[in-house]
């Protein structure tokens, strides 16, 4: 059997081999569902599949040079569609979407963001795919429709997509991508071939980040470490003042443990949720999570401080662990993760409520009676 990879830079060698094998044995499914944690390179992988199936040197090889490869890289191939959540259609112009696509084409690992606006995949977007699906191929060998963050489809959009999955045209490959697979309709899941994406190795992330960042920041390694193997987050970090955000997280934690001064905590929550940008709120909780991971780590093996995610804050974390000896870290970590998931679900309308609820739970688990 052929053991080569179609793109070594892409990582996930096992998945590459699996897909090459399905192509060779002519058992390619009509639909894939790529799932796994955020920032594992699923979108980038899906785009490479589109190249693999359309490259003039394909279908087991990607040349990166032929018109098909170039057009797919630039998001300009008539037979390849990339759909992603956007703000309500009244809030967004085609040029904005084209610009977002352009950014995605420059770096497929980066987050597509619309300045903190709530985004979703509307039924109109799926209808466009359905319309497109009725035609014969324009110039390629296989139509590839990629639905990124497929969990953000509106229910009516998901139902429309289901119709496409029920009677898939022969010339179409549908790739659904999600880091929240539990929010995908079971009927959609059961009609797709599921492929799990594990986090990328630190080395692979470093290589990718360097490829797409001509002048990487000095503290690149610690930044990637802080991103916990989430490459999307690593690129987020390069754009934001992340240390500032982390200070805010530590500040929040300080107020949480002295909940007796609840007034100050509420002011702090107001401040955090004032921007309405859920991304920054999630980021704050994310740093909290890294803090708890470090604390738990220290508690279990106090002699391995060098492996801290927040290695620069080692003494603060040490002080925290010693100050609250009864803290239940697995529980604390679980609460924080749940709060992150809740924040990322646009159906939860009140972020302040999520933060208040989390504060009470954290306080009780860090300082049990």
């Amino acid at each position: 059997m052929n053991q080569h990879l179609f793109n070594p830079e892409l990582g996930h060698p096992e998945i590459q081999k699996k897909i090459l094998h399905s192509i060779q044995s002519e058992r390619l499914p009509h639909a894939f569902l790529f799932y796994g944690k955020e920032g594992t390179g699923k979108d980038a992988f899906a785009i490479e599949i589109a190249k693999l199936l359309n490259c003039e040197k394909g279908p087991l090889y990607i040349c990166h040079k032929c018109p098909a490869c170039i057009k797919i890289s630039k998001q300009e191939h008539p037979d390849v569609k990339f759909v992603f959540p956007i703000p309500g259609s009244s809030n967004v112009k085609p040029e904005d979407i084209a610009e977002a696509l352009q950014e995605k084409s420059q770096n497929p690992y980066k987050r597509i963001s619309f300045e903190g606006k709530t985004t979703f995949i509307s039924i109109d977007m799926i209808r466009e795919l359905k319309y497109e699906s009725k035609f014969k191929l324009y110039e390629g060998k296989k139509k590839v429709f990629i639905v990124s963050e497929a969990d953000r489809m509106r229910p009516e959009a998901a139902n429309a997509l289901l119709k496409l999955l029920e009677e898939p045209p022969e010339n179409l490959m549908l790739i659904l991508v999600s880091s929240q697979i539990h929010r995908i309709l079971p009927t959609i899941r059961s009609r797709s071939q599921l492929i799990h994406f594990a986090p990328l190795e630190g080395d692979a992330i470093l290589k990718i980040v360097k490829k797409y960042t001509p002048q990487p920041p000095e503290h690149l390694a610690s930044l990637i470490r802080l991103a916990l193997g989430n490459i999307k987050l690593a690129f987020d970090f390069m754009e934001e003042d992340i240390l500032d955000r982390r200070n805010q997280a530590v500040d929040f934690l300080r107020k949480v443990v002295i909940i007796e001064k609840s007034h100050e905590l509420l002011i702090q929550i107001d401040k955090i949720t004032a921007s309405r940008d859920r991304r920054t709120m999630v980021l704050l909780l994310f740093f909290l999570l890294t803090w708890f991971h470090d604390a738990y780590h220290y508690k279990l093996s106090p002699d391995q401080k060098a492996n801290f995610i927040n290695s620069d804050l080692a003494s603060n974390i040490e002080g925290f662990v010693n100050g609250y000896p009864d803290a239940d870290y697995p529980r604390v970590i679980n609460y924080t993760q749940t709060a992150i998931d809740d924040l990322e679900d646009p159906r939860n309308l009140n972020p302040a409520l999520i933060f208040t609820d989390l504060s009470i739970k954290l306080n009780r688990s860090i300082k049990p009676r």
Partner: protein, 373 residues
Amino acid sequence: MKFSVMRDEIFNALQRVVNVIPQRSTFMMTQNILLFTEDNLLKLVGTDLEITLMSWAPASIQSEGSIAVPGRLIHDIVRELPNIELQFEVDEQFRMKVTSEFGRYKISGVNPVEFPQRPELGEGVQEIVLENEMFRKLIENTIFACSTDELRAALTGVYFNISEGRIEAVATDGHRLAKMSYTDAKLPKKVFMAIVPTRSLNFVLRNLDGEGSSTLHFGKKHALFELEDTQLYARLIEETFVDYDRVIPKETPFEMSIDAGEFYASVKRVSLFSNPLTSQVILNITPKHVELHAEDVDYGGEAQERLACEFNREDFRIAFNSRYLQDILRHISTDKLQLRFVRPDYAVLANPVDMPKEEEQLMLLMPVRLESE
């Protein structure tokens, strides 16, 4: 790339091509048109990935080449110029300079490699030459019956069925069907079929001259319609068309023939009084007359007319949606028409009488259930 061209010549071509540029699209490359030189002509291509339209202008070419440039911009500049000679020059960075006696305009273009490829017809193309008049008839007498429901994608185009020296165009939306065919010994004997989307055919109608002939090429993915000043590529629909012969009744015991013009005029008048929700018009047919009746019970309006006809049986009563009935009558071009029935609740056939023998036209309409009286 370097050429000069007269303003009117290039504007004529630009006007045709710019129409295809989509108003709203996230696929920004389609906002461009492709310019290239070939056979001493400047050729222009616009596409929305469904319809690709190519037109051309005679030009004096100093050096060959190609470029993609923003379509509406170049169209708008040329539109505002009088009929003078325009000089075009493109550099290696795909910047285009247009010079006239008024001054110069610089336009940033794009590498033409990034422009969607011109559709390829591939091998085994079916080529058909048709008089424009006949081509127009085939489209116009069928396209009105196409479905607009994207869930029935196969029905959103006209089905062209070619075989045995005969080309047949068929459209249906499930309630009605329109079929028109043309027989000519010069047509190919091979069997071939394709579904052409309605949008493309509307573009064909817009660009089709009254006289002369056109060449139709049917490839596996695209069809190419070679018209007088335009080549139009239509991306075909992938699905399989319905088995329409099955729904056409083979025997129709009740047959009525009537003056087509009088009948159409009468249906139009009577329909004005039908209930706007049902648009129902009722025909009471007797051996020598047909009585048309419509009524809007809610508003008290009512209309009744009596026309001469020939009917082969005693009494027959049937109801139609008047808008669908008018659609059919509008597409009868002969003096006389025939309506053929099986039962009041069964598909009705309509056809012109005394058509030229190489032409055949048939329409089918489902009646509506008679409102209870």
